[in-house]
C-alpha cells in the first residue's frame, strides 16, 4: 500500500459502505491534487474477519485516523475494535468531504488531535443555506 507517511504524517483510512470511500478519495484528489494521504476501505461482501483484514492492510503501520461513514454498524464496529487493539489510531464517524479536505492539509499532529479537528471541520460544513 503506497502512502505518504515517510515524514510521520498521518494516513487517513475511509471506511464505508459500497463505494462511498473510493468516491471520497477520488474527490479529495480531484480538488487538492494530494494523493496517497487517503486510502479507501469498503465493507462490501465482508464479514467481521474479512473487514478487519482489509483494515489491517489499509492502515499498515500506523499512525492513522479511521474515517467511518456511520456512527454504528459493521464499519464502525470493525474500526473501533481495530483502534482498541492498536496504538496511534483514532476513529471519527460521519465522514464528509469537508473534513477530509481539511485533514489532508493537517496531518502532522497526533491521531487524536486530527480526529477532533475533523469533527470540527466536518460539522461546520453541515448547515442550511440562505434561501
Amino acid at each position: 500500500m503506497s502512502d505518504s507517511r515517510q515524514n510521520g504524517s498521518l494516513l487517513g483510512v475511509i471506511v464505508s459502505h459500497a463505494a462511498v470511500a473510493q468516491a471520497l478519495v477520488a474527490a479529495v484528489a480531484a480538488i487538492t491534487g494530494i494523493e496517497g494521504a487517503l486510502v479507501p476501505v469498503s465493507n462490501e461482501g465482508c464479514g467481521t474477519e474479512a473487514l478487519a483484514e482489509r483494515l489491517r492492510q489499509a492502515v499498515g503501520k500506523g499512525p492513522a485516523v479511521l474515517f467511518v461513514d456511520l456512527p454504528g454498524g459493521s464499519c464502525l464496529t470493525s474500526s473501533a475494535r481495530y483502534a482498541k487493539q492498536h496504538a496511534d489510531i483514532a476513529v471519527v464517524t460521519g465522514v464528509n468531504l469537508a473534513m477530509l479536505l481539511d485533514f489532508v492539509f493537517h496531518r502532522d499532529v497526533p491521531p487524536a488531535d486530527a480526529a477532533r479537528r475533523a469533527v470540527e471541520a466536518g460539522g461546520k460544513a453541515i448547515r442550511v443555506t440562505a434561501a
Binding site: 465482508c46 474477519e49 454504528g72 464496529t77 473501533a80 475494535r81
Partner: protein, 157 residues
C-alpha cells in the same frame, strides 16, 4: 407485533438491520443474543452506538433469551432478534419452541466456506445444520433486505 424477525447475521447490529428492516417494521426493540457480547460492556456500548435512541437494545445470553422469548413474543411493540451464527440460532431453537422462522441475513466468507448467495457463505456442515433446522419445522430463508426475495433453504444449502 412481537418479534417480527429472527435473523442470523455475523455483523449483528448494522445498517441493514436498523434501517433496512427497522424502518419498514417500525421496530422498537432489538434483542442481540450472543454470549460473548453479553459478557462485555465495551462490545455492548459499541453495538448500541449504531441504534437511534427510540429503539431499545436488549443484550442476552442464549440461556437468558430462551427464558425470555415468550415475554418478547407477547410484547406489544415490534422487535428484531439477532444472532451472529448458525450455532447460536440452533442452540436457541433447541431450547425454545418459539423459534419458528429464521432469516439468514448475512454469513460472510471465511476459510472453508463456499458462496451460496452473494451474502451467504457456508461450510457443508453449516448448510447441513440449516437443513436440519428446516427439517424440524422452522421456516429458514435467506434475505438480506426486505425488498429482496426470501430464498428458501433448499435453494442455497
Amino acid at each position: 407485533m412481537s418479534l417480527a424477525l429472527y435473523r442470523i447475521d455475523d455483523r449483528l447490529i448494522h445498517g441493514q438491520v436498523v434501517v433496512g428492516w427497522g424502518q419498514p417494521l417500525d421496530c422498537s426493540f432489538i434483542v442481540l443474543v450472543d454470549d460473548e457480547v453479553r459478557g462485555s460492556d465495551w462490545e455492548q456500548d459499541l453495538y448500541r452506538m449504531g441504534v437511534p435512541p427510540h429503539i431499545e437494545v436488549v443484550f442476552a445470553s442464549v440461556d437468558e433469551a430462551a427464558e425470555k422469548l415468550t415475554a418478547w413474543e407477547a410484547d406489544s411493540r415490534v422487535g428484531i432478534l439477532l444472532v451472529g451464527d448458525i450455532d447460536t440460532a440452533a442452540a436457541l431453537a433447541a431450547r425454545s419452541p418459539q423459534v419458528k422462522r429464521l432469516n439468514v441475513g448475512g454469513i460472510h466468507h471465511r476459510t472453508g466456506r463456499t458462496e451460496r448467495l452473494r451474502f451467504v457463505y457456508l461450510t457443508d456442515d453449516e448448510a447441513a445444520k440449516l437443513r436440519q433446522l428446516a427439517g424440524r419445522g422452522i421456516e429458514v430463508t435467506a434475505q438480506d433486505v426486505p425488498s429482496a426475495r426470501a430464498v428458501p433453504v433448499g435453494e442455497f444449502t
